[in-house]
Amino acid sequence: MRSVVLLGAVLLLACSKDKPEPRVWQSIEQSLQTQLITIQDGDTLFLPEGNFMFTKSLAMEGKSNITIRGKGMDKTILSFKNQTEGAQGLLISNGKQITLEDFSIEDAKGDNLKVSEVVGITLKRIRSVWADGPKTENGAYALYPVLCKHVLIDECIAMGSSDAGIYVGQSDSVIIRNSKAYWNVAGIESENSRWVEIYGNEAYENTGGILIFDLPGLTQYGHTTKVYNNIVRENNHNNFAMKGNIVASIPPGTGVMILATHNLELTGNEIIDNKTVGTGIISYELVAALNEGEVEQETSIGGVQTVANNFRADTLYNPFPYGIYIHDNKYENSKWFPALSHDIGKLFFMKSFMNPPDIVYDGIADPNRPDHQICVQQGDEVIVINLDAANDFENLKKDARQFNCEGAKISLR
């Protein structure tokens, strides 16, 4: 009998603390969707405080000068955990001057927030997360403006994306600032976008911190990006992207990755304890070359699998990075080993044994451009490697002096 009492007491103790209160959600699905359709240009839609659950995508289309304002990112929560229909949580498309602020979006089956073809989109204090943390089943993007112009992402939080937390694609005139991205595959990613500023952000504990990519076959190609005064720390999370996507090839431990883009200034950032590489500068040719090896061993995990096979046929696309200027950043790395699960990580490991590099350039240069397209002015203690991948790594150099040139600073003001 005594033991039964004891048992009861222990059970109570064991779980009283952990037993979560059921979370009560309200449904405002029909009325909110109706409001998003009937709202008149120039209006502000106020979202009340509370937890709101949705079963379908919410969509607003073709509106101008609209603000949607919650009561705060911890107070107004839109959850799509019970979603059975629609590929996004909230979809804003084809509008002008749209502002979303002070609410949270959680657990959509696809992207949490997609903004497509809007001129003038401001996201301020939006928290967009998959609440259970990093998982391959999570949606691709937490905050996803695509085909937009005049994008401002300010004081936002992105967590749990199986691709990129803050992702801006095929857009122009973009500012991403004062935001936090963690536990995503890519923290912040700018892809095929032009005139982009990324500053004052914290990208930490992602697989890769900040990615500036240019990919072939799309509606536009990117250039002119300034990445400054960000903290890019401990982006060593395992890569949980679904294979097939370009970010699946990012090795864990990547601080900043610059792929096939041009006119980029990286300055004033703290790039710390990213175990594989602080900053990688690579061409799409390297991605393609690694991919060719991959075809023979298709089942391997963590390789570079994703290449549009005919990228060379895309005459408007330049696969080589150039006009890159890296200076006055703080690089530190207390880690000894890069991520060995990924091709790029293995490559760095073999070429820079026991001492993962701060900056790596693949050395595959555009044959039609003069030298000094990659400039690094970081002082002597920063380890810079030129892989010379174009010549099967024959001329691999660890000498930072070869990159000592003053590149073009970028001013977008």
Binding site: L6, L11, C15, P22, I37, N94, G110, A140, G217, Q305
Partner: protein, 355 residues
């Protein structure tokens, strides 16, 4: 005592499992938002049909039409009509949807027969979608039918309806049929920044239809009714019917992809950011998905590398996504909750035979 504490330990462990936070969703309170500025609140107010509404018997100026290859909508059947105002002839276009002038209304009714093998009996009409050309701008309005089948009411926010029918294989099918919200209508009908009809192009209309006056080519009939001026029939291209087994698999598959996917996957459609273009006129294999890596597919890639891998449908993302019913994976994103078995089998065969 030792045994007891062990027991206690396990019980504690067990009792703590399945302690996942419960989700309770309170039902939505009915709210009434005035929709009268958006459109007529009842379908009957338009006067498209004569006699009992549910018979969908068209008024004299309302013309029925059909398409060679139709969008799959969870096996729902469709009755389509067009109303072109007197003296506002549509403008012919050889490749694209006709230019319909102000005042034109396209009417599309979605319904299920109790038994798909008896498509004319025991019909339940679920919804009627209108595309109305008002001062040159197309407006998309969804109307939902009542259970009595006496009226359909404007509903801008969409709704789910429980539907069941006896399928062609004799099995009972049950789904939660989703009437789209007004924005979702636009999601498919958007071209650039303008809403446009998808179906009524010369290629789609170029086939016979059994009019009350007899069987006739639809384009010839429209011409005879003074709705449009068309060139000589023999010169007009024709989209194949993907159901027509006498036609080559590749042509049928491309027709299926065009009507199910290409309203978004085209150079001026909402999915242009993907770089995947699926009009049947697309000749660039890479743009069609062959050897093309995904751009922003997320888990939609299914762990596969390319849109289409010739000869290997199971390694093709396109095949994976048209077969899926997961909301974050499935294509098209909207308009179906189940898989079009015949359609995906066709595309599968096409990819399999592709070299």
């Amino acid at each position: 005592m030792r045994r007891v504490s062990l027991l206690v330990f396990f019980c504690a462990l067990l009792s703590c499992e399945s302690r996942k936070q419960e989700i309770i969703v309170l039902p939505e309170t009915e709210s009434t938002i005035d929709l009268s500025h958006i459109g007529k609140t009842k379908l009957s107010e338009y006067g498209f049909f004569v006699g009992e509404l549910k018979t969908l018997t068209p008024a004299a100026d309302v013309i029925p039409y059909t398409l060679n290859s139709a969008l799959f909508s969870d096996y729902a059947l469709k009755k389509r009509f067009v109303k072109i105002p007197q003296g506002r002839k549509a403008v012919y276009n050889a490749d694209d949807v006709f230019d319909f002038l102000e005042g034109t209304i396209l009417i599309k009714n979605f319904y299920y027969p109790a038994d798909l093998n008896k498509p004319e009996e025991n019909l339940r009409i679920l919804e009627t979608r209108l595309l109305i050309n008002e001062s040159g701008i197309w407006k998309a309005l969804p109307y939902i039918w009542n259970d009595e089948q006496t009226e359909a009411y404007l509903n801008v926010a969409g709704k789910n309806l429980d539907v069941s029918w006896k399928h062609t294989d004799g099995q009972l099918r049950k789904i939660s049929y989703s009437v789209p919200n007004m924005n979702q209508c636009k999601g498919c009908h958007l071209r650039g920044d303008k809403v446009k009809p998808i179906g009524p192009s010369a290629r789609q209309l170029n086939c016979d239809y059994l009019f009350s006056e007899g069987k006739q080519n639809q384009l010839a009939y429209w011409q005879s009714r003074g709705l449009i001026d068309v060139p000589e029939l023999g010169s007009i291209a024709k989209l194949v019917s993907y159901d027509d087994e006498s036609v080559a698999v590749s042509e049928r598959a491309r027709a299926w992809l065009e009507i199910n996917c290409a309203h978004c996957h085209r150079a001026d459609g909402p999915a242009k950011n993907s770089g995947l273009y699926l009009l049947s006129s697309e000749n660039d294999l890479s743009r069609l998905g062959v050897g093309k890596a995904p751009v922003a597919a997320g888990k939609g890639s299914g762990g596969l590398l390319y849109g289409i891998v010739p000869g290997k449908p199971d390694e093709s993302i396109l095949q994976y996504r048209i077969e899926s019913v997961h909301p974050g994976v499935m294509m098209p994103e909207l308009g179906r909750s189940i898989t079009h078995e015949e359609g995906v089998a066709l595309v599968r065969q096409w990819i399999k035979e592709m070299k």
